[in-house]
């Protein structure tokens, strides 16, 4: 329920959250969570072209979720290890998921009672 987060979006980490609103970027973040990768590595593991991966990485970088560094002739991307926005976005997703599960349980119990 994205609408649950409107208050959050207005106040904190709006860029990071918006960046994670895209399923391909979520998939890229999940991949990078397991270790640094070059653009070609990501394109090889996801059904996405290299130019599209580059574009998504730019959005994630601008949102402060991902950093890059040159390694030899390659450029490696990884989750920003000191990303305050990333931590906020993570906790927001965490509570958003938990509260949604809570809402569904209330619905289930109310249905049982009627």
């Amino acid at each position: 329920m994205v609408s649950l987060n409107l208050r959050f979006v207005a106040t904190y980490g709006a860029t990071a959250l918006a960046a994670l609103g895209d399923p391909t970027r979520q998939a890229i973040v999940e991949l990078l969570a397991t270790g640094p990768r070059a653009v070609g590595d990501i394109a090889a593991e996801l059904p996405v072209s290299r130019p599209a991966v580059s574009q998504h990485l730019k959005v994630l970088k601008d949102a402060g979720l991902v950093v890059d560094r040159p390694v030899g002739t390659r450029r490696l991307y990884q989750l920003d290890p000191a990303g305050a926005d990333a931590a906020r976005a993570f906790l927001d997703r965490f509570w958003s998921t938990a509260l949604d599960a809570f809402r569904r349980e209330v619905d289930r119990q109310e249905k049982e009672r009627t």
Binding site: M1, V2, L4, N5, R7, F8, T11, Y12, L20, G21, P23, Q26, V29, E30, A33, T34, L79, P81, A82, G83, A84, A86, A87, R88, A89, F90, L91, D92, R93, F94, W95, S96, T97, A98, L99, D100, A101, F102, R103, R104, E105, V106, D107, Q109, E110
Partner: protein, 157 residues
Amino acid sequence: MTDATTDVVVRNAVTVAAPVERAFTVFTADFATWWPAGYHLGDTPPARLTLETGPGGRWFERAADGTECEWGRVRVWEPPRRLVLSWEIGADWKHDPDPEHASEIEIRFTPAGPNSTLVELEHRAIERHPGWERVHEGVSSPGGWPGILDRYAEAAA
């Protein structure tokens, strides 16, 4: 560096179709029935999750072999309107009993209609956890909370 005086806060809210007393009871006494199954600290899914109701109550998971891992305590118990829990889980996804290192979660229940309750959650003082900026790495840590992005995508669909 995060300024030590900065209060790092995450806020969420949900409206549930139940009176405020029911909403409070489901959130607390029935905690184990709705808490997402993947959210646990031990290597295996816990056999039991418990939120002890009442002031000072413990919030913890217990593995099948009896090992307990505490998450925090009930700091404020004001049924059916307000609940404050401490969050004693460090950025490394392990229990840290130092109260100076704990953040806290306040949950407020406000009537929004005869059969409707606004539930507002505020997770604050997150900066008290040493290395809190790294907390998102729990997405991939083996004993952490994997798959959250997946479930988030489902919830947001």
